[in-house]
């Protein structure tokens, strides 16, 4: 099927392109980008007034397969991705069993290809079974095509182990993605430690837990020359540290979630488990530092940290609820609402953060609209107002802090390999 996306504003920062133009897709590839292209029998999508960008990429999700299919699987998770405008997502290794060997990676790649609607990349574990004791077979997994290594959900507690992981992974040019939280400071906590938590009587996870973990791992990256990618940065001092480390030439990249850019700990006052995550949503001072970090390029990528849970797991007393929620279907809209509409980020900056840089960090050939390249394309509106309704989600995990909120901007069309996988919010089966 051929497709002509007509009349949209193309935002393609890798080519410094920002103009109204048409894109013609033929045989899964971009055939032509230009003015007044003729359909030539292709299906026409009228993108007038909409933004057309390289397919959005989310480098941090949890698709839960294998082992936790009650929360999510490749099919439902990639449906959610398509609905949210993502053409490619990376899924973390903390499944059951843990993705810590090449055989599993290869099997899951096949399964994702078979049941998934968008492209799924795999992140292999750093340590066997996420135990932080023995290195996982990184070389094997690199050959199988993983895009990075991470024990996400767990901090690698041993500094010596992290040193070896950074040294070893550097041979394969893959980042170690670091869930940086010093466990002795967080293990009993349920939210950001500060005045709000004190009033609520809830034990906290202080920002310093992240800051000191990041400090250690930046030093180890400096020592080893390995590529450290700090996952879901949430704290002001961490942003400052990474800014300084980049200036020093340390090989560090990092990401932030859409929710950490959107909320503060004041939103937790109702004890709603939808706002419970790790690292926690912090105070306004931290949120402002994160916004400054995405603006000045200290922060490389915006992610969803899509972490679905079954209803019976999440709909419980606040302190009993697991961390995380489903973000794929609201992330773009949240970013547009809290950074674009507010005048903080330009569309070019947003596309950089949500497509160009994630592709570069993961080393995948994507993040650009270019003739001859695979047609992974996202079309979105920047001004459509809509109210989030959890009942309309494609993900199995219906919990969302955005539920009931009105957001501005929405994914309209998702194209993967030239095929429409989502149109006007409706995902093709």
């Amino acid at each position: 099927m051929n497709l002509l996306i007509k009349g949209g504003t193309i935002v393609n920062p890798k080519k410094q392109q920002h103009e109204v133009a048409d894109i013609l897709v033929k045989d899964g590839k971009i055939a032509e980008i230009g003015q007044n292209l003729s359909a030539d029998g292709a299906e026409v999508y009228d993108a007038t007034g909409l933004i057309v960008t390289p397919g959005l990429i989310d480098m941090h999700t949890h698709l839960r397969e294998p082992g936790q299919e009650a929360k999510e699987d490749f099919h439902s998770g990639t449906q959610a991705a398509a609905a949210g405008g993502f053409t490619r997502i990376a899924t973390m290794a903390n499944t059951k069993p843990v993705v810590d060997n090449a055989a599993l990676v290869r099997g899951l790649q096949k399964q994702a290809e078979l049941t998934g609607l968008v492209k799924v990349e795999f992140i292999g574990a750093v340590s066997k079974n996420l135990e932080g004791k023995e290195l996982a077979e990184m070389g094997d997994m690199a050959e199988a095509g993983v895009v990075g290594f991470s024990d996400d959900g767990h901090y690698v507690e041993s500094a010596a182990f992290m040193r070896r992981a950074l040294e070893y992974s550097s041979m394969f040019n893959k980042p170690v993605i670091d869930h940086a939280e010093e466990v002795s400071l967080t293990h009993e906590g349920h939210m950001h430690e500060g005045f709000v938590a004190y009033e609520m009587g809830v034990k906290g996870r202080p920002a310093v837990a992240e800051d000191m973990a990041v400090a250690r791992d930046l030093l180890l990256a400096q020592m080893t020359g390995g590529h450290i990618h700090i996952a879901h940065v949430s704290s002001k001092d961490t942003v400052d540290q990474i800014r300084a480390a980049k200036a020093k030439g340390i090989k560090v990249t990092c990401e932030v979630t859409a929710q950490h850019l959107s909320f503060t700990d004041e939103y937790l006052r109702e004890y709603n488990p939808a706002f419970k995550m790790a690292p926690p949503i912090r105070s306004e001072e931290h949120r402002q530092a994160l916004l400054a970090g995405v603006k000045d390029g200290t922060i490389d990528a915006i992610i969803t940290d899509h972490a679905p849970h079954a209803e019976e797991e999440k709909d419980v007393e606040f302190c009993c609820a697991p961390n995380g929620f489903s973000g794929l279907e609201t992330s773009l809209a949240a970013v547009l609402t809290h950074t674009y509409k507010t005048g903080i980020l330009t569309l070019d900056e947003i596309v950089n953060l949500m497509s160009v840089r994630p592709a570069e960090i993961m080393g995948v050939d994507a993040g650009v609209l270019e003739v001859g390249k695979t047609a992974d394309i996202t079309v979105f509106s920047t001004d459509e107002e809509w109210t989030v309704d959890r009942n309309l989600f494609y993900t199995k995990g219906k919990t969302s802090p955005f539920d009931g909120m009105t957001l501005t901007g929405k994914a309209k069309l998702t194209v993967v390999d030239g095929n429409i996988v989502m149109k006007e919010g409706v995902v093709t089966q």
Partner: protein, 316 residues
């Protein structure tokens, strides 16, 4: 005075309570205390009403106090504890709430270790929810009975220097007391070790101390909190001996307060730790009177939330 009504309202905490609501409860509690002190303790204002005491944590005084409060007013009251309930079989809190609310239940009095669980309950079920303590968050009826006891002895809270001493961070009593006392115009001071009392709490409109002698100077009231030994599982202070010596309320400390200082404790006490034995049983101590007032205050709360009114049908 008839415009304030608590009918059909939940009592989750005092953070959002108004001074007028607190005054209404204390006014009605004064009439209820007459019933508690009388020979015939049946006053069937809640006849035909059902109350479930859902206690997910251990309790002696709060649970029996709520139970008697309901019974003195003629309600049917039953008690459910975690270990004796299907929660011990793994039933979720949500399903437990649903089950106990579909028995013609008018109110659920609940205690739970999870902060915010009473608010959660209001979103799951219809009956009136009365918070009998949620984790380290709030314990509103304890604060109400504390206020009642202070007014009974001192006439007012306005302008009184009240010291809350001890383990503030783990204390739901402290938070409810702070909200209640400050709303009623008291001058509230907190004292405790730096590990159990964070300076940021000054934002609640209180004064922070780490020196107990400085804190109690000219105090009208000292409310001694229990060291929650079951929650203290890491290095929060070196030894009980050192705590008692530096932060314990004893006769020497008491001497620095006003001559007519009143000593309170929400119980259960660790005598010899946060409070010296002779202080607990001194004339300054109002600890037993607090217990009696607790029944009256809880009668007022159950009556005002379940049937409403302003207490005018009760004798002054």
């Amino acid at each position: 005075m008839g415009e304030v009504s608590l009918k059909g309202k939940h009592l989750l905490g005092l953070q959002h309570a108004t001074k007028e609501e607190i005054e209404l409860i204390l006014r009605v509690a004064k009439k209820m205390k007459k019933i508690v002190l009388s020979d015939d303790k049946k006053y069937p204002l809640l006849k035909g009403k059902s109350i479930i005491n859902l206690f997910m944590e251990n309790s002696t005084r709060t649970r029996s106090s709520f139970e008697l409060a309901g019974k003195y007013l003629g309600a049917d009251v039953i008690n459910i504890t975690k270990s004796g309930s299907s929660m011990a079989k793994g039933e979720s809190f949500r399903d437990t709430l649903l089950t106990v609310s579909y028995m013609g239940t008018d109110a659920i009095v609940m205690r739970h270790s999870a902060e915010g669980s009473p608010l959660y309950a209001t979103k799951v079920v219809d009956p009136i929810i009365i918070n009998a303590g949620d984790g380290a968050h709030e314990h509103p009826t304890q604060a109400l009975l504390d206020m009642y006891s202070i007014i009974e002895r001192k006439g007012t809270l306005e302008g009184k220097k009240i010291v809350i001493a001890g383990d503030i961070m783990h204390s739901r009593v402290a938070r409810s007391d702070i909200y209640g006392f400050t709303k009623m115009g008291a001058d509230v001071h907190l004292v405790g070790p730096r590990t159990l009392l964070y300076p940021e709490l000054a934002k609640m409109g209180v004064t922070i101390h780490h020196d107990v002698r400085e804190a109690v100077k000219d105090a009208d009231v000292i409310n001694v909190l229990r060291i929650q030994l079951e929650r203290i599982n890491s290095a929060l202070y070196p030894t009980n001996r050192e705590y008692a010596r530096i932060f314990g309320i004893n006769k020497n400390v008491l001497a620095l307060a006003k001559d007519d200082v009143m000593v309170m404790h929400p119980g259960p006490m660790n005598r010899g730790l946060e409070i010296a034995h002779d202080v607990a049983y001194s004339d300054e101590s109002a600890i037993q009177e607090q217990v009696r007032n607790g029944v009256a205050v809880r009668m007022a709360v159950l009556y005002l939330t379940i049937v409403g009114g302003d207490g005018s049908e009760l004798a002054d």
